[in-house]
Every structure is written in structure tokens, then in C-alpha cells.
């Protein structure tokens, strides 16, 4: 293994920290109980309801969690860092700070930077910048094809050795069936997952969801069929090749049905969606609000409900922020030519917790889609609370009501349609490798 290891290097050993009076939540084991957790250096040493019954270890710092929720650190498997190439929109450092504020301890960079991540040198660059930022863990995907051109495969093996955790062409679909077949086939050599942007590019040229709103606004539409056509083709190729396949940003009932059936038939298929696909629908485009322009587009109400249902029945494995920072100049444009995307790192947890507060999913089910779900798909070490696991933790107040204010985001870009959106649930601390990277300085204070 040549891997440079994409972890922030802690400057000093964080020692032992005892988290007491916490509501311990671990979707990997189904744990939900009040108790304590002890970290030692970069690892979780022990946890449980009776852990500190015999008193606290003398040398440990103590954090009184006052009944707040302590879960494995969130893992966001879709983040556009914009560095290298568009540092005026976001940098690895600003995205890391935003992630820390969002309770995210690991994020995975999409490879559509400039230059794109199709070579080990770019992976090394990102690893180095993440080490310098010393905040959250930054992983990255390699592109499926060189230069995102959709023709020649990249060096999956060498990129894997240098730390790539999967392969995707980002917001570009791998549209050539032969290339997709070879990608799914070749990736088996290294047991890697191929992540697809689910849109048939020939059908997906429009500005928003095809439907009544688009018709009224006079905007070109992307039919929901564009998604299911790509997904169904790919599922055939998965059956042919035996590859591992993950669909990003699923937004339609039809595609979810296809994925549900594929899972039932035993194919190695997973998928994710983003909070805006279950909290918003095409009406949010309203009066040409370019902040509500995303790819795939916000769909109609039926599809939005289908995404909720698929989260509840387990068809959707992961919720990812799909963090897509854009500066004002990219968004303050006529709707059709504005860039698609929403900044999402700092609203991922509260928006996801809506599913719990609206009684659609259990708390552990919501958390599994933010922790053990992505960790399992990408083979990341983390996403669960157990002795010996990395001490990556998120402490949050489940019930705290607040309103999202993009202007207060740590992210360099503020392109969020969730201004003043009421949510419940606030991150209090973010701990990476035993080190608190976000939260009050005083350990006794929450």
C-alpha cells in the first residue's frame, strides 16, 4: 500500500477524553442508551451505560454531554471541494470548516475539480491540503474516465493504491454503454464501486424538471425518464459484469422502483439522495430561483414522496449533502444558464433529522444513512461506535429548533435555497480522531 493516507495529522496526542451523560447512538449496532464514552488518543477506548460507574479515569478530560446525542461522526459521500481550480467558490480548508460545523467528520470529494482527479498526483495534492487543514478527514473519488470525457478508463488500480475510495465521473453520466460495461467489469479487480450520475445526457439538457411548472415558466425540461433510462441500462450492465454500482442523487419514483427490484434480485447496488430531494419539490423554483437549480432537478411532489418512502423502506442507503458551492456570479444569471447546485455541508444533519421529527424514519435509521451506510459502501474505517474504531464523533442537540441562515455558513459560498427554513437539531461538537475540531473550547461546557 503506497497510500498517503488521507487523514488530518494531529499535531499532538489528544489524550483521553470521557464523554459522560450522553445518549449513545450507533446505527451499526442498534445502540441507543444513555451512558459514557471514553476516547484514548485517536481511538474509541470503550463505551456503555455503566462505563464510568466506578468513577472517571483521573487523567481524562471530561465532557458532560447533558443528555445530548453522541453518534458516530457523519460521513458525507458527495462533496465538491472546488479545490484545485475554483478556490474562489470553496477551498479544502473552508469546506473542512463547513463540514466540522455540520458535524461531518469525513467527506468524500467528487473528482470534478480542475484538473480532475484522474491521476494519482491530484489525489496526493488533495491529501496534502487536507493534512494542512487539520480538520475533517478528506477522501476522494477518482474519475471513471480520463478528463471526464467518457472514453478511456483511468488507472483504477493505481488510484486505489493512492487512496481513491470509488470511481465516478461526478455530475457527468458515463453514457457510453461499452465504457460503463468495462468500468463495472474492470473495477471488480480492485473491488471498487462505480458511482453514476443518473441522467441520460441526451435527455437531460433541460433547466428544470419537465412538467407543469417548467411549461408555465417557459423553461426546458428534464423528463424523469432521463433518470430511469440510465439506471435501468446500468442495472443490466451490473447483472452482466457482476460489478458494484451506486446511483447518486436518485430523485424519481421510477428509478427507485428499478433499484428496489435490483436489490431484491441480489445485485450489488446501492444509492443515495440529497436532502433537497426529500424536502423540496419543483415548486421551489418558483419565480426562477436559481438557488433551487440542481442536477438532477427538483422533481414533482409524487417523486419527492417516493424518495421519502424509499428512505423509509431502505431502498436509499445514504443521504449525502451533494455540497456544490457556487459564487454569486454563477448563480445570479437567467435560470437556464445558472450553475446547478446547493451548498449542503452545514444543513445536512438538521434537514435529515426532519425525517425523524416527521416520524418517517427512526432516529437510528436516519443516522445510518449518514454514518454506517456510506462507510459500508466505500469501505471507510469509521461510521460506528465501538472500541478500537476511530474516535470520530458528532454531538448534537436533537430537538433544538432554529432557522437556517446561509449567510452564517462557514462555506465560502452561500447558494442555499433554505434561507430561514425552520429545522430542529443542532450540532454541538465535532470530534475527529479524538480531537474536538468544532465546539466550545471549555470541555465542561456544551
Amino acid at each position: 500500500m503506497i497510500s498517503a493516507g488521507m487523514k488530518p495529522v494531529s499535531t499532538k496526542n489528544p489524550g483521553r477524553v470521557a464523554y459522560v451523560n450522553a445518549r449513545l447512538l450507533d446505527p451499526a449496532t442498534g445502540l441507543d442508551e444513555t451512558g459514557g464514552l471514553l476516547t484514548d488518543g485517536t481511538k474509541i477506548a470503550d463505551l456503555g451505560s455503566h462505563l464510568f460507574n466506578d468513577g472517571l479515569p483521573e487523567d481524562a478530560q471530561v465532557v458532560d454531554c447533558a443528555g445530548l446525542c453522541l453518534s458516530p461522526g457523519l460521513i458525507d459521500m458527495r462533496v465538491q471541494l472546488r479545490e484545485p481550480g475554483a478556490e474562489h467558490k470553496e477551498t479544502i480548508e473552508s469546506a473542512s470548516r463547513a463540514a466540522a460545523h455540520g458535524g461531518i467528520t469525513s467527506m468524500v470529494a467528487l473528482p470534478n475539480s480542475e484538473p480532475v482527479i484522474d491521476d494519482v498526483a491530484i489525489l496526493e495534492f488533495i491529501a496534502r491540503r487536507a493534512r494542512e487543514a487539520k480538520l475533517v478527514k478528506v477522501y476522494a473519488y477518482g474519475t471513471v474516465t480520463r478528463g471526464l470525457k467518457g472514453r478511456e478508463l483511468t488507472e483504477f488500480g493505481l488510484l486505489t493504491e493512492f487512496g481513491a475510495v470509488g470511481f465516478t465521473d461526478g455530475l457527468t453520466a458515463v453514457s457510453d454503454s461499452q465504457v460503463m460495461r468495462r468500468a463495472l467489469s474492470y473495477s471488480r479487480t480492485f473491488n471498487q464501486v462505480i458511482i453514476q450520475h443518473p441522467e441520460d445526457p441526451a435527455l437531460a439538457g433541460g433547466a428544470m424538471n419537465e412538467g407543469e411548472v417548467a411549461t408555465r415558466l417557459g423553461l426546458t425540461g428534464v423528463p424523469s425518464a432521463a433518470e430511469v433510462i440510465m439506471v435501468e441500462r446500468d442495472l443490466r450492465l451490473v447483472a452482466l459484469t457482476g460489478g458494484r454500482y451506486h446511483v447518486a442523487n436518485v430523485t424519481t419514483a421510477a428509478a427507485l422502483d428499478a433499484i428496489r427490484k435490483a436489490k431484491q434480485s441480489g445485485l450489488d447496488v446501492t444509492c443515495d439522495t440529497a436532502p433537497h430531494y426529500f424536502t423540496l419539490n419543483e415548486n421551489s423554483v418558483g419565480d426562477y430561483r436559481s438557488f433551487a437549480k440542481v442536477s438532477p432537478p427538483l422533481r414533482g411532489e409524487e417523486d419527492r414522496k417516493a424518495v421519502e418512502d424509499a428512505l423509509a423502506d431502505g431502498t436509499i442507503d445514504v443521504i449525502a449533502s451533494d455540497h456544490s458551492p457556487h459564487d454569486q456570479d454563477s448563480k445570479r444569471l437567467p435560470f437556464a444558464i445558472a450553475e446547478p447546485g446547493i451548498v449542503g455541508l452545514e444543513s445536512l444533519l438538521p434537514l435529515s433529522l426532519q425525517l425523524y421529527h416527521n416520524k418517517q424514519l427512526s432516529l437510528l435509521d436516519v443516522l445510518s444513512k449518514l454514518t454506517s451506510g456510506p462507510a459500508g459502501i466505500l469501505g471507510l474505517n469509521g461510521g460506528s461506535l465501538k472500541a478500537g474504531a476511530p474516535a470520530d464523533l458528532t454531538l448534537f442537540d436533537l430537538n433544538k429548533p432554529w432557522q437556517i441562515d446561509p449567510d452564517s455558513f462557514q462555506s465560502k459560498s452561500k447558494n442555499s435555497p433554505f434561507t430561514d427554513y425552520p429545522v430542529q437539531g443542532m450540532v454541538r461538537r465535532c470530534i475527529v480522531d479524538g480531537r474536538c475540531i468544532y465546539g466550545p473550547e471549555n470541555t465542561q461546557q456544551i
Binding site: 480520463r146 472514453r151 478511456e152 478508463l153 483511468t154 488507472e155 483504477f156 488500480g157 493505481l158 461499452q178 465504457v179 468495462r182 467489469s185 474492470y186 471488480r188 479487480t189 459484469t241 457482476g242
Partner: protein, 333 residues
């Protein structure tokens, strides 16, 4: 002049053509290998020429570039005393189908006794063999068969290891495009060896397991406990689009080097049908290691095997003309 003669009744080989390993029995393969052994001895002697095929015409008809196979067949024919003509037809200048048959008919009119044919399209040699009167030896057709290569590989192994029975043989690399792999899989299977194929999934044809082999994507796993490691050439000329992303990645994961070879048995032997891409599928130093590499032996065995094939396929012809000659000399009283 050394003379290796077999009695006319001892025909030994019941095929008119040698189009592939498919269809041969273990006995027939052993017969050809035994016969080849005797030609190895001949080739190592001072006087290499026999008159066995004197007066016979052998045409090397190559629709695809080749140096070593063509030379090997040419030498085999000449050592047996035949008149050997080389005909190279650039594959780009001919159209398939009718033109191939036209070529066959033209040559047939010249009464060759043996045609050795190489063609870039699978099945083309069989098509041609249906139109000619002489014997046809497949010198390699597309990604289908290359029977003399499999025979020479088998001879090389048998002479080192005594038998093919029970040996574990790994065939590594571009299985998808390889006629050598297909012929070897057949032959080794018939002779009782255990065959594994090791390649990235993009270079493994579908359902390869149905040919009786085990498939691996990982060199170390696949080479474990193998007696023989056969490397194949990465056939970039047959590839359209990217089957593997780069040469450096291919060599790193599928190229044979000392480190990967350690997974095989300590005395495992290395083979390669040539021409080698050093640093692509095989480490240069390893290819030249006389303790491990059989690559030069393979070339030597090639001539002997091809002599044996020419001998075996012309026996009926020779026995008929011998009978005719006997009738004329003795004559009716």
C-alpha cells in the same frame, strides 16, 4: 542423411487437416508429441535434413504479419525436404469472404500438398480448408485457435516435467483476444492438467469457466501453487477502446515479476508464446532467467512440432503414392 521413416500402415493420425486442438484425443496429441520428440533429436544432430517430403509443396499462406511462426514452419518444411513457398497477403488489401475463397481456389489450382494458413479472422482457416484438396494446418486464426503453439507448449512442458497430468498451469493476461490461450486451455484440459486463467475482468471472455478453467483477477491468488506460468502478449492491435487503462497499471497488477512469481511453486517455470512486450506483461530480467524461463525452449520445440505435424498430415498422401510406385515397379506380369 538421417531418415525417419514410418511404415505406410503406421499412419497414426486420422485427420486430414489440423485446424485446432478441439477434436483431438489424448492419444492423437501424445502421438504428435512423441513424433515431435524424434524431430527434436534430428534438429539437434549435425545433419538436419531428410527427404521425407521430397517433391511435396508446402505453402505458407499468411494473411497476418508473422516472423517467428512463418520461419518456424518454413524451416520445418525445408528440413523435411519439401518445397516451401511463402505467401504474405496483407490483410488490409483483401476483402473477406469471397476473396479469401478466390485466393484458396487459385492456390488450389497449383496443387500444393500442404497449406499453412494464418488469418486475422476466427474461422477463416476452416472456411479455406473446405475449398482445397491438400492438407491445411491452422497457423493461427483470429482469437480462435493456434494448435501448433499449444502442441509446442505441451512438448516443452512434457520434456521438463515428464507429463502434463496433474500439473497446475496458469495462463495470464489477454485471454480475451488470445488464440494461444484457447488452444492451450483445450490441450491442457485433454491431457489432465488443471488450468487457471488470470486477467483483469475486461480481458476475460464471458463464461470462460465453462471451458473447464478457474478464473482469477488477482495474480498472487491465481499463481498460488502453480507449476507453470504462461504469460500472454497484450494484443493492443486487436483492441478497440480501453480494456486496460495504461501499460504501467497493467504491468503493476498483471505483469509477471519476481514478487508475484513467489506465489507460484518455488520451481515454477515461465513460458511466453512471443513476441514478448518486456515491461508490459513480463519483467525483462525474469524472461531471460535460464533457470525459470522456457521461452527459448519453446522456440526450439516449435520447429520439431511443426515437422511432426507436416509428417503426420502427409502420411496418407505418401502411403498412396508409395503404393502406386510399388504397383508400377512390380507391375502385373
Amino acid at each position: 542423411m538421417t531418415d525417419i521413416r514410418h511404415t505406410a500402415d503406421d499412419l497414426g493420425f486420422a485427420h486430414r487437416h489440423l485446424l485446432g486442438i478441439d477434436g483431438l484425443t489424448a492419444e492423437q496429441i501424445s502421438f504428435l508429441l512423441d513424433l515431435s520428440d524424434s524431430y527434436v533429436a534430428l534438429n539437434r544432430s549435425d545433419d538436419k535434413k531428410t527427404s521425407l517430403l521430397r517433391g511435396r509443396t508446402v505453402i505458407n499462406l499468411f494473411f497476418e504479419n508473422s516472423t517467428r511462426t512463418r520461419t518456424s514452419f518454413e524451416l520445418a518444411g525445408k528440413r523435411l525436404g519439401a518445397d516451401v513457398i511463402n505467401m504474405s497477403v496483407s490483410s488490409s488489401s483483401i476483402k473477406k469472404g469471397e476473396t479469401l475463397i478466390d485466393t484458396a481456389m487459385t492456390l488450389n489450382a497449383m496443387h500444393p500438398d500442404v497449406l499453412i494458413v494464418r488469418h486475422p479472422d476466427s474461422g477463416a482457416v476452416k472456411l479455406l480448408s473446405e475449398k482445397v484438396n491438400g492438407a491445411v494446418i491452422n497457423g493461427g486464426d483470429g482469437s480462435h485457435e493456434h494448435p501448433t503453439q499449444a502442441l509446442l507448449d505441451a512438448l516443452t512442458i512434457r520434456r521438463r516435467r515428464g507429463s502434463l497430468q496433474g500439473l497446475r498451469v496458469a495462463i495470464c493476461g489477454d485471454i480475451l483476444h488470445s488464440r494461444v490461450a484457447r488452444s492451450n486451455i483445450q490441450l491442457l484440459g485433454i491431457m489432465g492438467a488443471h488450468v487457471r486463467v488470470i486477467a483483469p475482468p475486461t480481458l476475460l471472455p464471458n463464461n470462460i469457466e465453462r471451458l473447464g478453467v478457474e478464473a482469477f483477477f488477482d495474480m498472487r491468488e491465481g499463481l498460488k501453487d502453480c507449476d507453470i506460468v504462461m504469460m500472454l502478449r497484450l494484443q493492443t492491435e486487436r483492441m478497440q477502446g480501453s480494456f486496460v487503462p495504461s501499460i504501467r497499471e497493467y504491468f503493476r497488477f498483471f505483469g509477471l515479476d519476481r514478487e508475484k512469481l513467489q506465489a507460484a511453486k518455488p520451481d515454477a517455470l515461465i513460458m511466453h508464446p512471443g513476441p514478448m512486450n518486456r515491461g508490459v506483461e513480463i519483467d525483462s530480467e525474469l524472461a531471460d532467467d535460464i533457470d525459470r524461463s522456457l521461452i527459448r525452449d519453446q522456440v526450439e520445440m516449435g520447429v520439431a512440432v511443426r515437422m511432426a505435424c507436416l509428417d503426420a498430415l502427409t502420411r496418407t498422401l505418401r502411403s498412396n503414392s508409395a503404393k502406386r510406385a510399388a504397383t508400377q515397379v512390380g507391375g502385373p506380369a
